[in-house]
């Protein structure tokens, strides 16, 4: 610690003494000029953030290399939630894999179910009837809203806005009530299965969803009223964590992380699946690639998802929800009593499961985090030979060190939150 200079004797305050390789020297209350600029530190101080940390959104370990308060390097150490999903898929039949997929991206479980089901259906070359597709879209968009609500609540909580946490869970509990009503489970519904749905939705489904969407837009207005023009929020998020479009593409970022940088790419529009082409919705795009833009995109996406759910409920077609192919989808109970063939199909499906023809397929859907893809390889057996999950959070997180570079360490939390990672997705 350097010594303070002797007092000048005429009452003026002394010059501040610089520390080793740090703060610029300046004369207080006088000339106001900076004498010399700091030199970058030779050695970075490494601090460890996580894996048990309130703001890493799961078990993520970040080793930040600090130069004073600036983050110069960031190394992410993942794998603390590695569950071996891909190995487990190889030892379960296709339908048995569906409850496993629920637990990967646990903030939006129906999304994973849909991705897996669509990939398997592409292998099987079967079509789902319109009612099944519409209900899938409604469920998936409701889970997108639920996921964005969690993101908003936890992100705001990290930045100090604790009220948002309570408000967002209030809405999320209403969505979970709907999911519980149709499937019996709040979160891991496993409702969307290969060949259609678990069952048709009960008659209370439509009024419950209508009641939810009736006032959801006002709720989002409430949230925006709290945050969007809040000067503290804006000061803490604008211009922070910027990533360019080219970098984002190189890292494989997708979803709001990519759209925040101005790349207009959404899989629901580019490669529509499950009747998305029949819905009218907009995809918000950001301009600057910073945390504030990603926040605005996700809030706007909540509104658009509410619109999609509204349209789906209004135009919900009648008819069956599952494919008619009895080799994939179980026959109804009444048929089993009367038809020998149905009995055999039911038996085979329950004990062995269906066998897609050999081949490989990659199908991607737009999850709240980005492009969630399933690369499925079948060798003709009743279990996937290899099912690779392309997790959006994995690629988004690999771009973190670019976004956090030269930001203050106190802002690192905001940047990590803005990428919206789910460690179940990253580590699988």
């Amino acid at each position: 610690m350097a010594m303070m200079p002797p007092p000048k004797g005429d009452g003026t305050p002394p010059d501040l003494v610089p520390r080793q390789g740090g703060i610029p020297r300046f004369r207080p209350a006088g000339t106001g000029e900076f004498l010399e600029k700091i030199e970058p530190a030779e050695e970075l101080m490494e601090i460890n953030m996580g894996p048990q940390h309130p703001s890493t959104h799961g078990v993520l370990r970040l080793v930040l290399g600090l130069d004073g308060e600036r983050v110069r390097s960031c190394r992410a150490d993942i794998g603390y939630l590695h569950t071996g999903f891909e190995k487990s898929f190889e030892s379960h039949t296709y339908q048995q894999c569906i409850p496993l997929t629920d637990r990967m991206d646990y903030l939006a479980p129906p999304m994973n179910n849909l991705g897996f089901a669509l990939a398997a259906e592409e292998l099987l070359q079967i079509e789902i009837p319109p009612r099944g597709q519409y209900i899938r879209v409604i469920l998936v968009e409701l889970s997108r809203i639920a996921s964005h609500l969690i993101w908003l609540g936890t992100h705001a909580l990290d930045l100090g806005a604790t009220t948002m946490f309570m408000y967002c869970w209030r809405e999320r509990d209403r969505i979970l009530d709907i999911l519980e009503w149709i499937s019996g489970v709040r979160m891991m519904t496993s409702f969307i299965r290969v060949g259609g749905l678990m069952s048709d939705v009960p008659e209370e489904f439509v009024p419950m969803v209508r009641a939810f969407t009736a006032d959801f837009q006002q709720r989002v207005d409430e949230y925006e009223g709290l945050l969007t023009s809040n000067p503290i929020w804006r000061q803490r998020t604008i211009g922070l964590g910027v990533i360019s479009a080219r970098d984002a593409l190189g890292f494989g970022c997708s979803g709001p992380t990519l759209r925040g940088s101005g790349v207009p790419y959404d899989l629901r529009k580019a490669h529509p699946y499950s009747s998305y082409e029949q819905f009218d919705f907009e995809v918000p795009i950001g301009l600057n690639g910073d945390v504030y833009d990603r926040y605005l995109i996700r809030v706007r996406e909540m509104r658009e998802s509410c619109r999609i759910v509204d349209q789906g409920i209004k135009r919900l077609p009648g008819g069956p929800t599952n494919t008619a192919d009895r080799k994939v989808s179980r026959p109804p109970r009444s048929e089993i009593d009367t038809s020998m063939e149905s009995l055999i199909h039911h038996f085979k499906l329950t004990t062995e499961g269906f066998r897609p023809p050999p081949g490989s397929v990659y199908h991607a859907i737009e999850s709240p985090r980005g492009e969630l893809g399933f690369l499925m390889v079948s060798d003709g057996g009743n279990r996937p030979y290899r099912c690779k999950v392309r997790a959006p959070s994995f690629s988004n997180l690999s771009a973190l060190h670019e976004m956090v570079k030269d930001e203050l360490v106190a802002d690192a939390v905001a940047v990590v939150g803005s990428i919206d990672i789910t460690l179940g997705d990253v580590d699988r």
Binding site: G79, E352, L375, N382, Y385, S395
Partner: protein
């Protein structure tokens, strides 16, 4: 535009699948990224499929997406256990982590990679779990039909029933 030296080209469901030899990998990827007629700028993922009965047991699949032309390309490379695959981390920064994951779970080695270490498993883990010869179970669950699983290692019979419980065997 397809890379020269491609062995197999297959267009299925709007997705082009190309199998190329290992030595052409880097130049093909560079060309695919920058050539205006393809512009595969987005690195989706990179994975591996294990076919243990083949000589070149690992089939590495690189997925690239072109936003301008709105399509997806599969680049397949066949490799054996001892092959050294050039790393694409310099061309697509996102492949960095995917290659580390491939190394971690399959044991495929990449040359020129900035940091080829285990990413998902602890650093001192032995073995590569996603290979087909890696038996994965946490602990034996004893039912009446496979009570021998609950026995200790010395008492367990030689034929250990496979990694799953009573499922139908693969054809």
């Amino acid at each position: 535009m397809l890379p020269t030296g491609a062995l197999v080209v297959n267009v299925e469901r709007g997705q082009a699948k190309v199998t190329i030899p290992v030595d052409r990998l880097v130049e093909s990827a560079t060309a695919l990224r920058s050539d205006p007629s393809t512009l595969y700028e987005m690195a989706i993922c990179m994975t591996c499929v294990d076919w243990p009965e083949r000589d070149l047991r690992f089939e590495l699949i690189y997925l690239l997406r072109s936003l301008v032309h709105n399509d997806l390309a599969w680049i397949c490379v066949l490799a054996s256990e001892s092959s050294e695959i050039p790393s694409l981390a310099g061309i697509y920064p996102g492949m960095d982590w995917h290659e580390r994951e491939c190394y971690d779970l399959f044991g495929v080695k990449f040359t020129g990679h900035p940091n080829l270490t285990r990413i998902l498993l602890p650093d001192d883990w032995e073995g590569h779990p996603l290979r087909k010869d890696y038996v994965s179970f946490g602990e034996p669950v004893a039912f009446t039909h496979n009570i021998e699983w609950a026995l200790s290692a010395q008492d367990r019979p030689e034929y250990l029933p496979g990694a799953t419980r009573g499922a139908v065997e693969r054809p």
